[in-house]
Assembly symmetry: C2
Homo-oligomer: 180 residues x 2
């Protein structure tokens, strides 16, 4: 657990407030899902979130967890989270992927996002991974500038390809028919 | 293990040849690294491959493996591989990421790539994941067309951000100095 002493830099008028960044626990998953849904609603895609608290608890806290989280607790309230997991590069080996970093809308500009970002990167350094990776929307200039300033680079020329579960079923059915 | 009966479609003049797609084993990792290095050399980045056979064996065959592979054996020779692993979407839950699909240069156009692609997608379907994801270079029109025809979509507007181990160390050092 790491208490950010430098929070006074960001919250000048709130001397008694405190920011704690800690590992996520099962009991945090309802609040984590709340943050995920708040952001999806803001992005006008609330129906796109099909993940449930049960999914998060099962998938994040199995013997072989699919993700980990850091949680930002500000003045005793969960106000942010970073969700990340390992990936594997055929060139570099083990890497860490930062899937999502969310701060409640009314708690932005307080340095909470940076505290979560730093914590994930410190974790990555301790894990001795050879790369940390994430994605950003190309119009999000403030975020891109922040990432670049911290030493990250934008990889040019790669497109993300996705196949949904529905299209996966259709494709496999069509391939199976070919095989007959 | 799945023997592709429909290989006759692709290899009309080689009736006695056979294509087998199977799960990768520890003993395959030297050949897998050979394929990775062949491709990196073709892309004029041979020095970028820092992964070793020991890394691949340790990371792919631990109790908590960081990746899995399918291997294409064509006429008793390892000529291709697909390397993939789980990722986690905060909206969809468990997904599969196809990191790399490589076919030896002199064994292309025989349907081996498609056989590996199909096998990964079948595996994903069995795992009941809600999405399969990978990346493609934006100039690689034949690949993009193939993916689209199979039901995948190109996600627009997202950029990949990467921080190397070296820049990670620099950033964390600078942040630690701030904290003092």
């Amino acid at each position: 657990m790491l208490v950010y002493a430098n929070i006074v830099k960001f919250v000048k008028n709130s001397i008694n407030m405190s920011l704690v960044i800690r590992k996520g626990k099962k009991e945090d998953m309802p609040a984590v899902l709340g943050l995920i849904k708040e952001l999806a609603t803001f992005e006008r895609e609330p129906a796109a979130v099909v993940v449930t608290v049960d999914d998060l608890v099962r998938d994040g806290f199995a013997s072989n967890p699919l993700f980990q989280t850091f949680i930002a607790v500000y003045d005793d309230e969960i106000v942010g989270m970073a969700l990340f997991y390992n990936r594997y590069s055929t060139w570099k080996g083990k890497t860490i992927h930062l899937e999502d970093l969310i701060v409640k809308e009314n708690k932005r500009q307080l340095g909470i996002g940076k505290a979560l970002y730093d914590e994930v990167l410190k974790y990555a350094l301790n894990e001795k991974v050879r790369r940390v990776e994430w994605v950003v929307l190309d119009w999000n200039t403030p975020a891109i500038d922040f990432y670049k300033k911290s030493g990250a680079s934008i990889l040019k020329g790669w497109e993300t390809v996705q196949m949904t579960e529905e299209n996966l079923i259709n494709y496999i059915n069509s391939v199976s028919n070919e095989d007959i």
